[in-house]
């Protein structure tokens, strides 16, 4: 292990499509739950950080609301994925800025999007459609391509073209995750999904149908990051951070990237293994970003669980990635069935499984090592976690 940092608690607020609550209210609920999970009190928390975008709570709101006295804090936007704040929190603890850091993200994207209606927001964000567009969307909105789904769909199509990958193979991400969600009382969609349901669903942007796309929700997820020498007396066995990668060796562009059948997560997947003696074959479960089904496939390929271009046959039939398979994937239902947590659902679910707290969805292989991959498109970051 090359980090003196571990995960000691996780927490969640209420989760729902539309909760009609304030982001800061959800944030407090999530942060309090994470502190209680770790067995820490407010006075133990000396650092805090958040992923702060439109429709989410800022770290400053939470510091003030909870009366925290901290030695390190940061509001963080996008960087190497949506969980850059979590990576920064890990580095803050590693460099001695704080002993126990709360890292959280809350969002009311579900409420905002319902209020603005279809066509009222840029897909994937609680941001209204502008009269004139600038920034990255300048290259999307003039072409009727407002969603990351349009762009990920093109990568999927390119993968299908180069490697013969099929919709029936890709369906297994949605089907397996829905089966897992059926065992998770907090998931949004829990009814069983069949291959017939999938293949007859309305198309969104080919090859993606409705079930390849995640759903906006209201939620808060919080994580406690602690110094390894400050964990005695805490409630949970600490989860060690075995490796971390935020590598980016390519152009951070949706259409100028050098290989249109993958994404920058390719660089992260390769780099992660340079920081550990563990190998893909040591990994017991994978929690990987699935804002769109193909991203999860690209992650599994990038992390080396199969060869380049081989993800279709790897997931075919779904057995291998199911709860009782050799590599269970997105065991809580992922973002497709458990809701769009902007990348913040993967690490908590990995911890739940490593702690053996998965209840009806607990994987049976007594997991010791989990990989977490967050982000898709032009950003990505990964963590390798171990049970101490």
């Amino acid at each position: 292990m090359n980090f003196d940092v571990c995960i000691t608690g996780i927490g969640s607020s209420a989760i729902g499509r539309v909760l009609h609550r304030e982001p800061v209210d959800l944030a407090i609920e999530g942060c309090m739950a994470a502190m209680a999970d770790a067995g820490l009190t407010r006075d133990d928390i000396d650092g805090i950080t958040a992923f702060h975008i439109e429709g989410s709570a800022s770290v400053i709101q939470v510091i003030d609301a909870m009366g925290l006295k901290v030695n390190w804090f940061a509001d963080v936007g996008y960087g190497p994925s949506q969980v850059t704040a979590l990576f920064d929190g890990i580095m803050a603890v590693q460099t001695g800025r704080a002993r126990h850091v709360l890292a959280f993200h809350s969002s009311c994207e579900g409420t905002v999007r319902q209020a603005l209606g279809r066509g009222g927001t840029i897909p994937g964000a609680a941001t209204a459609i502008p009269e004139r567009v600038s920034g990255p969307q300048e290259w999307w909105l003039p072409f009727g391509a407002p969603s990351a789904g349009n762009h990920i769909a093109m990568y999927a199509q390119r993968h299908f073209h180069e490697f013969g990958t099929t919709r029936e193979q890709m369906a297994q991400i949605a089907l397996v995750e829905r089966a897992n969600a059926g065992r998770n009382p907090e998931a949004i969609y829990r009814d069983p999904l069949t291959m017939d349901d999938y293949l007859s669903a309305r198309m969104i942007s080919e090859p993606f149908c409705l079930f390849d796309c995640d759903i906006p929700i209201d939620f808060c997820t919080a994580v406690v990051v602690s110094r390894a020498d400050s964990t005695s007396g805490l409630r949970k066995p600490p989860i060690s951070i075995e490796a971390m990668s935020t590598a980016c060796h390519s152009r951070l562009s949706w259409d100028q990237f050098d290989d249109l059948s993958t994404m920058v997560l390719r660089d992260v997947g390769a780099d992660l293994w340079r920081h550990t003696d563990l190998r893909p074959s040591d990994v017991d479960l994978a929690q990987v970003y699935d804002g769109f089904s193909f991203i999860a496939m690209a992650w599994l390929e990038a992390l080396g669980f199969c060869g380049r271009g081989e993800i279709g046959p790897f997931i075919e039939g779904g057995t291998r990635i199911s709860l009782d398979g050799e590599l269970p994937v997105n065991t809580n239902g992922g973002q497709l069935s458990a809701g769009r947590k902007h990348g913040w659902g993967y690490l908590p679910e990995a911890c739940i499984q490593l702690w053996g707290e998965g209840q009806a969805r607990q994987v049976p292989n007594d997991p010791e090592v989990a990989v977490v991959g967050t982000g898709g498109g032009t950003f990505a970051g990964a963590l390798l976690l171990g049970r101490s």
Partner: protein
């Protein structure tokens, strides 16, 4: 002139950096920024050449020819005022340089006719004060 089925199109905010790209079509040209020192084509336009860090950049007309590198047939109605008809969003390769691409729509053909490797040619669609570069099959 292209007649597109009409996806939601929001016009870009024009700046000194992007004006040539978005308005070149008014003169019938697809204009891409190019480094005047090392010759590298730069898209989307940037204030510096990423190869030689020269700031001596200017837009030049390219051939307008391209090849479909990736595409998707969009079905979803993103806006209540846009068409519900399917349309093709594509990434096309420009022949002027490896990995010089742009996101666009393929128009003036059935959506089922589009394939990866398809040769296409630029056409321009007026939108507010700009001309949106779209592409149609070269062999029509």
């Amino acid at each position: 002139m292209a007649v597109d089925p009409g996806p939601m199109r929001v016009p870009p905010l024009l700046t000194d950096l992007n004006r040539d790209y978005w308005t070149g079509g008014l003169a019938g040209e697809l204009r891409i920024l190019r480094c005047q020192d090392c010759g590298l084509w730069l898209h989307p336009p940037t204030p510096v050449c990423r190869r030689c860090l020269s700031r001596h950049l200017a837009a030049e007309a390219v051939s307008g020819q391209a090849t479909v590198a990736a595409f998707t047939i969009n079905h979803h109605q993103w806006s209540p005022t846009a068409t519900v008809e399917r349309y093709v969003i594509a990434i096309v390769d420009l022949p002027e340089q490896a990995d010089l691409r742009q996101t666009t729509n393929i128009v003036n053909c059935p959506v089922e006719a589009v394939y990866i490797g398809m040769p296409v040619t630029v056409v321009f669609e007026p939108l507010a004060d700009v001309a949106v570069p779209l592409f149609e099959p070269r062999d029509r």
